[in-house]
């Protein structure tokens, strides 16, 4: 079994897949920033933002529910925002009796909580669509265009290349642990400390295998003329249609924001 399934890229021949990665990265960040800047309980604004991301999802040919479903991964973290239900001052909306105590959910608290959850869910869809429609080497190119330091982009690139190799390594380690750990059904093996120690040994050997592999990779790079300098191809020019897409995208998120802040 290989860890290929962790690659989030989904190859399609769609409009979104053909957009320049620099445009996609900038617009994804602009979308998330716009969503963050919308005030709480700005429902019309949220609907516009949702319509926008839905349109992008349809343009990705991945199916309209692709990002919507995956974005529910954000749910566990929503717990962190739960207290605003009770602490936001406002009109009481619901009393929750808890034995001797009672919690009061305010209407304003409910609106604020729903806003946080919605914003988070909407923002995540932008990230999902970006990762699903852009191969990683193109994202690296976009990062270089945005002046991320070369050494860092080089580390990102090497990390990506060996991610699958080391994830395979981790899967093999876990398979070996399963194969060697006999346990009665329902019983959890030996003590927690022992299990932690075994996992620690696995992490250590994963680290060592990575370390030794990096030495071999360095030798191979040296044999091919590596001199410590990270060299890259010049960035390709942006097509006129991509520049237009960038402007249109920024105009749309800008007008949603303006509409919500000055009119709404």
């Amino acid at each position: 079994m290989h860890a290929n399934f962790i690659d989030p890229f989904h190859a399609r021949d769609s409009l979104l897949h053909h957009v320049d990665p620099r445009v996609k990265l900038v617009l994804a960040v602009a979308f998330i920033l716009t969503t963050a800047l919308l005030p709480p309980a700005a429902w019309p604004g949220y609907i516009l933002v949702f319509a926008l991301i839905l349109a992008v999802a349809i343009a990705s040919a991945l199916g309209p529910f692709f990002a919507i479903k995956r974005a529910f991964l954000v749910l566990p973290f929503v717990l962190a925002a739960l207290p605003v239900l009770f602490t936001t001052p406002g009109e009481p909306w619901l009393h929750v009796p808890l034995g001797r105590w009672a919690l009061t959910i305010t209407a304003a608290g409910l609106a604020r909580f729903a806003s946080i959850a919605l914003k988070s869910w909407l923002s995540m869809q932008a990230g999902i669509l970006l990762a699903a429609s852009t191969p990683f080497p193109q994202l690296l190119m976009a990062m270089r265009a945005l002046r991320v330091p070369r050494l860092l982009v080089g580390v990102f690139g090497l990390m990506w290349r060996y991610l699958f190799v080391l994830a395979d390594e981790a899967l093999r380690l876990m398979r070996a642990r399963e194969a060697r750990s006999a346990a009665l059904a329902g019983a959890g093996g030996s003590s927690v400390l022992w299990r932690a120690k075994v996992t620690g040994y696995m992490a250590g050997s994963l680290f060592l295998r990575g370390y030794e592999r990096s030495e071999r990779i360095y030798d191979a790079m040296l044999a091919r003329g590596y001199d410590g300098e990270v060299r890259t191809l010049p960035l390709p020019p942006m097509a006129r249609s991509d520049k237009a897409a960038l402007l249109v995208g920024l105009a749309i998120v800008g007008s949603i924001l303006a509409l919500e802040i000055w009119v709404g």
């Binding site: 988070s120 050494l151 990390m159 299990r195 996992t199 620690g200 040994y201 990096s214």
Partner: protein, 326 residues
């Protein structure tokens, strides 16, 4: 095979990677600036101190940490312990290379797997790459001075460093959520701190196991000083200590005085106008006893730290004697 694709999606570490939507734009942008400054400085130091094999080394080790976060062990009732890796990377590579490695891990998780948001990436970098590495390094160095640099000392120091790095990062998450008005400090700080005092134990145990294996098979990687290389990094020790002290003092004050952080946020205009909490500058419900209570909380925290150090010191001495005999 208990590994599901969802394991990569982020549900395993719900509390550490902040998604988008939970932080106010102002807090996100300030933390982005802090992250760019910190990571930029680390890159500059790495460029200066490490030779040309640094790039493959850091790239592959970032992949190893990412894959290492897949490893987990059952604790009880469906919960499991797993690795963040900042402490392990810091002990084996030094603080600056560790910051670069963790930056790669956290950025790729955000960019490709939505494990943490893009606007929130600055905050996540500050918490996991900068605070994680600084606190690990400072604690490791100080512990080593207390318990020695032999094998036993390295293991005890590694455990405490890994444990506290998780707690510090979690408290930072709590502070950021409180500053953003997402979660009141009185709840976010004790909850994040308390849960991660437990979760951090898992990090500590895995780190110790990894260090023990490396000490046995490749002792050269830990070096004569028992790891955490990088020469004179007094500044990092001080920075890490400052972070720890800041947290030790701020956390009880902020969580004991729920309006404190929100008041700061209000003054700095972090909170949305719509929320409009009418906090008073000097709340009239401050009793003389509250101040003492706060002082008591801080004193308890300091006492707790001293006890941990005491136990560590004692077990370290014990271990050193064992090393000398064996």
């Amino acid at each position: 095979m208990h590994i599901a694709p969802s394991t990569f999606g982020g549900a395993i570490e719900p509390a550490m990677h902040i998604p988008d939507g939970f932080m106010s734009p102002a807090v996100s942008i300030i933390l982005w600036i802090a992250a760019i400054a910190g990571v930029g400085y680390a890159l500059w130091r790495v460029n200066r101190e490490l030779d040309e094999r640094k790039m493959p080394l850091m790239g592959v080790l970032a992949a190893a940490i990412f894959a290492g976060q897949m490893l987990n062990f059952a604790v009880t009732g469906g919960t499991s312990g797993h690795l963040m890796g900042a402490a392990l990377a810091t002990i084996l590579l030094g603080p600056w290379a560790s910051i670069v490695v963790m930056t790669a891990v956290v950025s790729i998780q955000a960019l490709l797997f939505q494990d943490g948001g893009l606007l929130a990436l600055g905050a996540n970098l500050v918490n996991m790459a900068l605070v994680g590495s600084f606190v690990s390094y400072a604690v490791y160095r100080i512990m080593q001075r207390l318990v020695g640099t032999r094998r036993w000392g390295a293991l005890v120091s590694g455990f405490v460093a890994a444990w506290l790095s998780i707690v510090a990062a979690a408290l930072f998450v709590g502070l950021q959520l409180a500053l953003s008005g997402t979660s009141p400090a009185s709840l976010a700080l004790p909850a994040m701190g308390g849960i991660h005092l437990l979760i951090g134990l898992g990090e500590g145990l895995i780190t110790v196991g990894a260090l023990a294996l490396i000490a046995a098979t490749r002792p050269d990687l830990l070096g004569a000083t028992g790891g955490a290389r990088g020469g004179s990094n007094r500044g990092v020790v001080l920075a890490g200590l400052a972070i720890a002290l800041l947290l030790a003092v701020i956390s009880p004050i902020a969580s004991g005085n729920p309006d404190g952080l929100e008041w700061v946020a209000e003054q700095l205009n972090f909170l949305d106008a719509a929320q409009d909490p009418a906090y008073n500058l000097v709340p009239d419900y401050v009793f003389p006893g509250v101040a003492n209570e706060k002082a008591a909380t801080i004193a308890a925290g300091v006492l707790g730290v001293l006890i941990v150090f005491g136990v560590a010191l004692f077990s370290g001495r014990l271990g050193r004697r064992k090393d000398a005999v064996g």
